[in-house]
């Protein structure tokens, strides 16, 4: 089972000096994020895992190690603030499950 964080749709991310501001009207919250935090948020597209995000940051910035701890902590904050949701996907079953559901729905067994 792997978590695939996904940012909320429709977030308005506004650049300000030294970072970005997000106004979340429905929660009446304002968030300030620096560029790394916004990068992590942007990579939360429902496909990347936290480990993958850390690896992307490592490669992009030429780091010696993937910043997994920093990514995890940021994802926790983003989740707590409701900017990110976690979709749990199981890759080993994801290919077969739709077929199974399809068969059940469209080809029910005859008794």
């Amino acid at each position: 089972m792997t978590e695939h964080p996904r940012r909320l749709d429709g977030l308005e991310i506004n650049p300000v000096e030294d970072g970005f501001m997000i106004y979340q009207g429905e929660r009446d919250r304002v968030h300030y994020l620096n560029h790394t935090a916004v990068l992590i948020l942007e990579l939360c597209d429902g496909r990347n895992t936290p480990a993958r995000i850390a690896t992307l940051l490592k490669n992009a910035y030429g780091l010696s190690e993937a910043p997994e701890k920093e990514v995890t902590e940021t994802l926790v904050k983003l989740t707590e603030e409701g900017l990110v949701r976690h979709a749990a996907l199981n890759r080993t079953r994801s290919r077969s499950a739709p077929k199974k559901r399809g068969r059940q729905r469209w080809h029910p067994k005859r008794s």
């Binding site: 030294d18 009446d28 560029h35 790394t36 942007e42 990579l43 603030e81």
Partner: protein, 204 residues
């Protein structure tokens, strides 16, 4: 910075924005500060320690937002003083004092505290935050509710977020002192959130 891999990993519709995010940047510790736009009650712990019903300058009249902004600026200055007083030993030799009415540790005299470099690193973002607040008042044209002033106040909130980050980096997150500084910074950020939202009805 080699953004190709990271750009190819996101939806094409987000790539232009992502390019702007990563242009010319180096890795920095991710930083996020959130604050509510809801007004804090004056009964909050912070307010109970600093409440005043009088404007800071009684011979001046001003808008509620400008008054709140300048109060926040004043309180930031107070925190700066408290940081020096709590971590340094330059006043009466007693290291460790109260911050906002609460004892924060380090009882004993001299020898305990932080280096001047650490204290300076903590004071830096506080000074910027205070400067941003006063600049916001200056460009607020008497009301402090225009976009320019709000942007300036938002910068102050960011500086306070940096202050929090430095507290954690330099002092850890677990000490009484750190907890108190983080708590007060959070409350101030919340007040700035009120200010940015135009909710300036009550004094701190």
């Amino acid at each position: 910075m080699a953004p190709e891999e990271i750009l190819s990993s996101v939806d094409p519709s987000r790539r232009e924005f992502l390019k702007k995010v990563i242009a010319g940047t180096t890795f920095a510790v991710p930083l996020m500060a959130s604050f509510s736009m809801e007004g804090l009650s004056v009964e909050s712990a912070w307010a109970s320690n600093v409440t005043t019903n009088q404007p800071l300058c009684s011979n001046m009249t001003g808008s509620p937002c400008c008054t709140l902004a300048v109060q926040i600026a004043g309180v930031i200055g107070l925190i700066s003083f408290q940081v020096v007083e709590a971590l340094g030993s330059g006043f009466d030799g007693v290291v460790g004092f109260e911050i906002l009415g609460r004892y924060v540790g380090f009882d004993g005299k001299g020898g305990v505290g932080a280096s001047p470099e650490v204290i300076a690193a903590l004071l830096g973002p506080l000074a910027k935050a205070q400067s941003d607040m006063t600049e916001g008042v200056r460009i607020g044209k008497g009301t402090c509710d225009n976009d320019a002033a709000r942007a300036q106040f938002s910068k102050a909130a960011r500086d306070l977020a940096k202050f929090k980050q430095r507290v954690i980096e330099l002092c850890g997150a677990d000490s009484d002192l750190s907890q108190e500084l983080l708590r007060v910074a959070d409350i101030l950020i919340s007040f700035i959130g009120d200010l940015v939202a135009g909710k300036c009805s009550g004094p701190i």
